[in-house]
Every structure is written in structure tokens, then in C-alpha cells.
């Protein structure tokens, strides 16, 4: 089981010959991910870590049967890479690139909806289903197979929580970052819908941050439809208003998007919010033992 990626994932890496693409292809293969192809325009015919490189996504998918793509190309080329992936026949695209223009993402998400293709990211650290498959840039050694689903707007903060949950003796079903940008392919609710149907997942740790109202909407969704234990953490309690805190989407504007509002929204629907990341493991234990 697990969600999004598993033993049936056949991965194509877009931007496989770049510094990050090449490094993380090796890491993913070492983790056990089935990387079947890479794409870099103009470098078709080469191979990297024994993975064949193609010039186009179409050739890569036709030649290898790849069903999932991961994008490591620089932000400037990422929009085009997502469109190319969507037209190639893969059903899941995971975009690591950070800094994709927001209006491009408006077009991308609208197009993918018509095509029936799911996008995770951009500005995502990837998706890992421990024991099956790791796609993206997460450090593989922190995971342990288990029953906790983890979904986050952040990258490294996600690792922090995974680490805490693993150290507390719990494992993970699937762990993913949905991306820190204003417009992203899949939001918290889209992912909770998948965790809801996943038999392996018993509880969910959700990591939000300042900016926007996605957490408030998710709290309403949880109240209405989500029947598994959820614990949360919100980053940015100390963030000053009006300043973008690294992530394009992490900004308190016009008094909206504060950590305080998000924490209140979760607590109001019975989702406990950790004060520091490591506490998430304790809260999860308490929730599961009830």
C-alpha cells in the first residue's frame, strides 16, 4: 500500500545529467527505487548510473514504460518540463525545482487537471514510501517503514519530523512535501484524501507554515471527512508580518496567514499542535493509544 509511490513506480528523471539530478539518481537507486530512464535534451544515448538517457520524455516513456517523473531542472525550465511530462503519458509528476513563476503554475495546474495528471510541488522535497521507493531529495536513512503518513509544506522540516517519529519507534507509510510555493499541484486535502483510503496509514502528521489559508481549509476538511488521528505543527510563530520567509508562499499579509490562526483552526477541530517539531512524535503516540 502506501500512497503515490510504491513498488510499482517506474521513475524517469528529468534533468538527470545535472549536478543534483545525477547525485540524487544515485541516492534513489541505492534506496531501491526503480529508476528506468533519464531525460536531458541533447544528451540522449548516454547513460548515468546505468540508467539510459533520452532526449525527450516521449521517447523515455515509450522506451521504458515509465509512469512517474521527477523534475530536477532549474526553475527557468521547470514549467516546460512539467508540460512535457504531462504530454508524455506519465500519471504522476514530482517537481523539485524551486522558484517557478506563480502565473506559470496557474497555467500548469489548470492544464494538468484537464489531462488527469497529478503534480506534487513545485518546490517539493519529493515523496518517500519507506521500504518501497524514494523519489526526490530526502535523505533515505531517516525513514522506517510503518503506519504514519507525513505531509508538509516544507522540506528539511519534514526530515526533522520523520527523524523524531522514527526515533520514537514509529515508522512511516508515505512521507511527502507538497511544496512551499503559492500555487502547488496537490494541497493538504488532496493528500489526506489519499491517506484516508490507504490501509497502511493509521495516523497523519501534518506540517504547515505561515501564509495563505490552506491549513484553515484543511482543518474544516478534517472535521467533515477525515477519520484517522492527525497531529500538526505550524512553522513561523515568530515570523514578522509582510516579510517572505524563504518559501514564496510563506508570508503573513494583511493580518491573514498567521501561525496563531492556523493553530486555533486545528485545535478547534481536535487536532493537537506541537510547540516544537520533536513533540509531534509524542502527540501522535497519545492520539494512537486513545
Amino acid at each position: 500500500m502506501a500512497i503515490l509511490v510504491d513498488e510499482n513506480t517506474k521513475l524517469v528523471v528529468q534533468g538527470i545529467t545535472g549536478r543534483d539530478g545525477s547525485f540524487h539518481t544515485k541516492q534513489m537507486i541505492d534506496y531501491g527505487t526503480n529508476v528506468v530512464a533519464g531525460v536531458t535534451p541533447g544528451k540522449g544515448g548516454q547513460s548515468i548510473h546505468d540508467v539510459p538517457v533520452f532526449d525527450t520524455m516521449k521517447e523515455a516513456v515509450e522506451g521504458t514504460g515509465a509512469n512517474t517523473s521527477v523534475i530536477y531542472v532549474p526553475a527557468k525550465f521547470a514549467t516546460d518540463a512539467v508540460f512535457e511530462a504531462a504530454d508524455s503519458g506519465v500519471k504522476l509528476i514530482i517537481c523539485i525545482a524551486e522558484g517557478v513563476p506563480t502565473q506559470d503554475m496557474a497555467k500548469v495546474t489548470s492544464y494538468l487537471k484537464c489531462k488527469g495528471v497529478r503534480l506534487i510541488g513545485p518546490n517539493s522535497p519529493g515523496v518517500t514510501s519507506p521500504g518501497y521507493c524514494k523519489v526526490g531529495i530526502m535523505p533515505g536513512q531517516i525513514f522506517e517503514k510503518g503506519t504514519i503518513g507525513i505531509v508538509s509544506r516544507s522540506g528539511t522540516l519534514t526530515y526533522e519530523v520523520v527523524h523524531a517519529i522514527t526515533q520514537a519507534g514509529m515508522g512511516q507509510s508515505t512521507c511527502l512535501g507538497i511544496g512551499g510555493d503559492q500555487i502547488i499541484g496537490s494541497n493538504f486535502i488532496d493528500i489526506l484524501e489519499l491517506f484516508r483510503e490507504d490501509a497502511q496509514t493509521e495516523g497523519v502528521a501534518l506540517i504547515g507554515e505561515i501564509g495563505g489559508t490552506a491549513e484553515e481549509e484543511t482543518a474544516e476538511y478534517i472535521k467533515a471527512r477525515f477519520n484517522k488521528p492527525v497531529v500538526a505543527f505550524i512553522a513561523g510563530r515568530t515570523a514578522p508580518p509582510g516579510k517572505r520567509m524563504g518559501h514564496a508562499g510563506a508570508i503573513i499579509s494583511g493580518g491573514s496567514g498567521t501561525a496563531e490562526d492556523k493553530i486555533k483552526a486545528f485545535e478547534a477541530v481536535g487536532v493537537p499542535v506541537a510547540e516544537i517539531p520533536a513533540q509531534m512524535a509524542d502527540l501522535m503516540k497519545e492520539k494512537l493509544n486513545k
Binding site: 513563476p101 496557474a106 520567509m245 510563506a250
Partner: protein, 377 residues
Amino acid sequence: MKLQEYQAKEIMKAEGIPVKSGKVATTPEEAVKIYHELGGKVVIKSQVLVGGRGKAGGIKLASNADEVKEKATAILGMDIKGITVKKVLVAPAVDIAAETYIGIIIDRKSKSPVIMVSPAGGVDIEQVAKETPEKIFMTRIDPFLGVMSYQSRALASKLFSEPDLIKKTAKVIHQLYNIFERNDASLIEINPFCTDTGGNVWAVDAKLVLDDNGLVKHPGNEDLRNIDEEVTEELEARANDLSYVKLDGNIGCMVNGAGLAMATMDIVKYFGSEPANFLDIGGSSSPEKVLAALKIITGDPNVKVIFINIFGGITRCDDVAKGIIQAYDKLSMDMPIVIRLTGTNEEEAKKLLQETKLVSVGSMAEGAQKAIELASS
């Protein structure tokens, strides 16, 4: 990236939107000169990138040369929310009949641009949204189709009932959307969008915010950046591809990843102290970026202790370690440094750092507590 009112007005004017644009002055004498060129009543408006200029006394009307000089003198050099006014826009005053609002934003929820209009213009639109939400009208725009004529007509008719004004307003909505899309803006706004007693429409104020992520597509727009209103360290950080926000505490933080960087600030506060900054060295970080980051942190006189919190993913711990070693070589880092390193290439990094005098900790919570303890000793 926020633009000044006069910059936004120049772009709107070039697009064909009716704007009483005026000219920018940096001295009272220049302001008087512009007044003589324009002839008639003028408005003198401070050019700073913060809201609430009117309330702060940064916008004044003047109807003769003496008044222009007096009011420009008062506004230039004035402090508005921590920003010193260096420029004023001197523009012809409009005989306002009605004040409305037109704006375009990116809506996260519908993942599209949204056009907002309100007959309640001239006041803070967030206040209107809070107090009288029924006075705000919104239409979602398909990013592939752009604004359709029926949409602009419907929106314009929420503001005016006269056919001629509806027509003129609808045209402005299309023109605003063109600017918004062509420049990868994240916000464009005319507030107030006014009618005068002669039945004309005017953009009396203008706001334009460009998407930082979109600047790569429009390198020319970098020239519009208002460098003198930005914090020097934040500019230096951007030049090195880092994100940095200065705060007031004494624990300097260097972290990889924005979420973890925020959580690191939060945990410093949780254990009873205050962070000196937000600093994200980003994903694919090189030793050079780490060196640049430490240079910015050590340049802050408030910093007593540096807390480095790295959880390597795409960031390789050995790259960070190399940067720290270079920093010891090139910077005067006499304050204690607490470091937490884990993740990709952690072992290589720890070997590299064996010889240094860093205080190594096993967790983020331990690191924060240790840093606070060292800062107060």
C-alpha cells in the same frame, strides 16, 4: 518585488490607462518646478513602499508655489513606518466624483488570477473585506483565456451604472490584466479608481507587485528594484542566493530550508530567547553560500552565538562543513558556534569538522538550549 506608485503609474500610462502621472522630485525646489510645468492644483505624494502614507501625513494637496514648497519640505525626509521619504510624486489633482477599487491578485485556493472590484474605493481594501464583504466583487480568470469581455463588463457594472463609464472601466480592467500577465505580477491595484466631474475615469493611485519567481523571465524588470528601501544585509543575501530576514534577537541562525529555518527561530523563542535573523541557505548549497551566510550573520553586532541547524537532503553536509572551515579562515568568528548536522554526507562532514572548536549537538532542541546558555554566559 514592490514598485513605487510612480513606477506603476508609468507602466499603466504606457498601457493606455488614464493616469494623472506627474513627475518625481527629490527636493522642494524640484517640486515647485514641476508645479509650474503642470499648472493648477497638485497633490504631493511620498514615494515609499509601505501602506498608510495618507494617514502618516505623506500625501498633501497644494494650490500655489509656496504651498508646494512648504508641503514638499515637510514630506521629504519624513519617516513613514521606518522608511525615510526621499522622493515625492507631484501630480495634477483630480476633481473626484466617485472613488472605487480595482485589483488583480493570485488566488491560492482557485490557483488562478482573481479580479476584485469594489465601489468602496479610497480606503484599505482589507478593511472593506473585513467590515463590508458584500461590497467586494470577485471573478476568477482562466489563466489560458485571460479576461473575457463579458467578465470585464459585469465587473465594471458593479462600480458604475452609466454605460459610458462601464465601457471605460471595462477597458481599464483588460489593460490591467495585460500588465499583470505580461510582467508576471502577483498584484496590480488601482485604489482609488476615480471618476471626475467631467465623466472621465482616472487611476489616482497605483500599486504593482512583481512575482520574485517571475523576474527570471523579465530581467529588465530588475532595473525597477528600489534598492534604497531594502535592508543592506537582505540585498547582500539575495546577491548570494540566500534568503535572510533581519530580526532583533542575539542568536544568529543559519539553517537549510525555509520551514526548518522558521522552526529554528520558533524553537529559540520557545526556550526563552530571541533569534537574530531568519536565514535559509537554500537547497543545493555550495561552500561559497555558507561562507556568504556566515559573513552576513557575523556582521550583525547583536549576534552573540551562532546556531547552525542543518538537516541535509539536497544540501550535502560536507559542503556546509567546507564553507564553515573557509569562514574560520576568512572571517573573524570569535563568538561560539553551536552546530547540529545530520542527513546527506553527515559522516564526511563530521570528519572535516573534527579539528574545529564548534560545539556539536545531537538535536535541534538541544542546540537551541545550548546556544541560549552560551549567549547568556
